[in-house]
């Protein structure tokens, strides 16, 4: 719970005691020029983003396609090196790491992708898949590596009957368990999960989400959970950041975000999620139009062309992410301000 106005915890972003602190992260992509003499255009995929994750915390990043949530993860991991900004992991500045140092660092920060089958080597048996990361990082003896892999497979719910199978012989849910085992076997301090359950069926999603929750308790995992599925995020995450067109528009504790959303985009997004109760959503906020192209961002607040409550100020200046305590919002109107 957040206590507005009273629980101010120092300047934002509050990165004291953070395991991972992202500050003013920027990642632009250059796209092909429009025509032979056209100007090179820039997509502002991640545009000045700051947040931090405490140890043992699950932070969700939500938003619609193209909002930059995956680009944030890839910038953190240097898969797409950030253009500017800082990513600090404990005392280490990740943006300044050399490639060999990065290889060692990836043991501590693991990544789980959406499509499990593409994350696994089709020619390697399951047990060997899980031993492989240990071999790459030179951890333990051969015997110890095998024992460890067997133990972690057990923890994700795969028994000896699966050890000799190939990835294609497993179901999607089982494949994602193997991917999680591969990440966890290195005992990482953070795992970044990018839409880890989107490719799975509903009943299997629940199994994997429940597994994540169990592993989190068992291993004290810190997770950056990227998803477009707000229902799952509400269930799994401690805090949630909502992204729109490359910016965080709202960041709060999960209960505060879902019970008292402040940003009009967050409100519309929550309202757009269907619930299995006929007639329950008659008060839906229906957004007009679609997100503008991240190449030609509107002036002022990026959300203003679709916003139902925009005032002239919203078309002139871009709101900063402000707020009291742990609940911050980038909206001119969320803090009692009028134009």
């Amino acid at each position: 719970m957040t206590a507005p106005e009273t629980a101010a915890t120092g300047p934002r972003p509050d990165s004291s005691g953070a395991l991972l602190a992202v500050e003013n992260l920027v990642r632009y992509f250059t796209v092909a020029r429009a025509g032979l003499f056209g100007r090179r255009q820039t997509v502002k995929a991640v545009d000045d983003i700051s947040f931090s994750i405490r140890k043992g915390e699950v932070l969700g990043i939500v938003g619609e396609s193209g909002c930059g949530k995956s680009s944030v993860a890839k910038a953190i991991l240097n898969i797409h090196p950030p253009a500017s900004g800082s990513v600090r992991f404990r005392e280490t500045e990740l943006t300044k790491l050399s490639l060999p140092d990065w290889r060692a660092m990836r043991r501590k920060i693991q990544y789980v992708f959406q499509d499990p089958l593409n994350s696994l080597d089709p020619r390697i048996r399951i047990l060997d898949q899980v031993i492989e990361p240990l071999t790459i990082h030179g951890i333990g003896s051969r015997r110890a590596r095998t024992d460890k892999a067997i133990a972690i497979l057990e923890a994700v719910g795969l028994s000896q009957v699966h050890h000799k199978k190939f990835p294609h012989e497993l179901s999607g849910g089982q494949q994602q368990r193997v991917v999680l085992a591969r990440a966890l076997v290195l005992e990482p301090e953070i795992i970044i999960c990018d839409e880890p359950i989107s490719a799975l069926d509903v009943s299997i999603q629940a199994q994997v989400v429940q597994l994540l929750q169990k592993l989190r308790k068992e291993f004290g995992l810190t997770i950056l959970f990227i998803s477009h599925d707000l229902s799952i995020v509400r269930f799994l995450c401690d805090r949630v950041a909502v992204m729109y067109l490359g910016r965080i528009v709202e960041l709060a504790d999960t209960s505060a975000l879902f019970d008292q959303p402040q940003h009009p985009y967050t409100k519309a997004l929550i309202s757009a999620i269907p619930i299995p109760v006929p007639g329950a959503r008659s008060d839906r906020i229906l957004l007009d139009g679609e997100p503008p192209s991240p190449i030609n961002l509107p002036a002022g607040c990026r959300f203003n062309p679709r916003c139902g409550i925009a005032v002239p100020l919203c078309r002139q200046s871009e709101p900063a992410l402000l707020g009291a305590g742990a609940h911050v919002t980038a909206c001119h109107l969320a803090h009692g301000g009028t134009a």
């Binding site: 209960s255 269907p274 299995p276």
Partner: protein, 324 residues
């Protein structure tokens, strides 16, 4: 009105046919929306493709599907070509794959308009252009004049889906089959497209079959719901009845598997195990191996879809209690 009786679909050569859809029965009044919900492999898409007669030669289709008294399944291919679009139309999950990538939206709409020789609309020239713009306006396409010249890759997923719906409307079908029409779209766009489907039903009394894996989408949009598992309808009823009093353990399990945006819960109750392969269906009820309520009868024979009050039909020997 659509009346589907004992629809069965199997694949493979004679003697080794694998049943994919078994004994599907339902009726749908004009202007109503039927939701079919189920996971991958439940047979929901195959059911729809069977009605469209789009399954190809490896499929064996049995049963009847009468649309206003005419059995679609008995039509020969030339008659079916006429029926498609005019009587029964389908939109798909990936609109970009259903559109022609090298033709403009205007050209493709013109093609659909030109095929319709019944409504007196000119099939080419200015009249057809006006009709195309009108259709795009009807489906809420922003800036319709400009869209005529654009190609599918220039439009967003939501706009492509609107373009497909406009092409479908050009031939005013009686029955629209929408197979996961919003699954590839963002939630705010999904809300817009679902609103559009409800609007079409309202304005044109269109009959719609909506396929989805998302119980929320089904609950909000449909009048009637059929839950499918391994090729059979396991539960069916009005949306209000089925979601208020789910009886089949699979329906209950599906509802318990999803956290809800409007509730803070601490544990999920997933359905254990996985959907069996159609090559190795268990004897009796296909859900029995995953079911917490299964009794010995479940392993012997598949339970019939019995009436359990007020149009609510459940295929289960030991259904969950009807909660108040």
């Amino acid at each position: 009105m659509l009346r589907v009786s004992n629809l069965t679909v199997s694949f493979g050569p004679p003697g080794e046919r694998i049943p994919i859809v078994q004994g599907v029965d339902f009726q749908l009044e004009r202007g109503r929306i039927l939701g079919i919900v189920g996971e991958s492999g439940s047979g929901k898409s195959v059911t729809c493709l069977a009605l469209m007669k789009l399954l190809g030669k490896t499929a064996t289709v049995g049963g009847t599907a009468e649309l206003d008294g005419e059995n679609l399944l008995a039509l020969d291919e030339p008659a079916m070509v006429k029926a498609r679009g005019h009587k029964i139309a389908m939109i798909f999950q990936d609109p970009a794959a259903a559109l022609n990538p090298v033709r403009s939206i205007g050209w493709q709409l013109g093609e659909a308009i030109g095929l319709n020789r019944s409504n007196g609309v000119p099939q080419s020239g200015e009249g057809a252009r006006d009709r195309a713009i009108q259709l795009l306006r009807d489906v809420g396409m922003p800036d319709p004049e400009r869209r005529l010249k654009e190609y599918p890759h220039q439009l967003s997923g939501g706009m492509n889906q609107r373009a497909l719906i406009a092409m479908m409307l050009a031939r005013s079908p009686k029955l629209l089959i929408a197979d996961e029409p919003t699954t590839a779209l963002d939630v705010t766009i999904q809300a817009q497209i679902l609103r559009l489907l409800l609007d079409l039903r309202e304005r044109l009394s269109m009959t719609i079959m909506l396929i989805s894996h998302d119980l929320g989408v089904i609950a909000e949009t449909c009048d009637q719901v059929a839950v499918m598992y391994c090729g059979r309808i396991v539960e069916m009823g009005s949306a209000s009845e089925l979601f208020a009093r789910p009886r089949h353990p699979y329906t209950v399990g599906l509802l318990n598997s999803r956290p809800r945006i409007d509730q803070q819960i601490s544990t999920l109750k997933p359905i254990e195990g996985v959907v069996p392969s159609p090559y190795a269906l268990p004897p009796g009820c296909a859900f029995a191996p995953r079911c917490s309520r299964s009794v010995s009868a479940c392993k012997v024979a598949a339970p019939p879809l019995d009436e359990r009050g007020a149009g609510h039909r459940v295929a289960c020997f030991n259904p969950a209690e009807a909660a108040a």
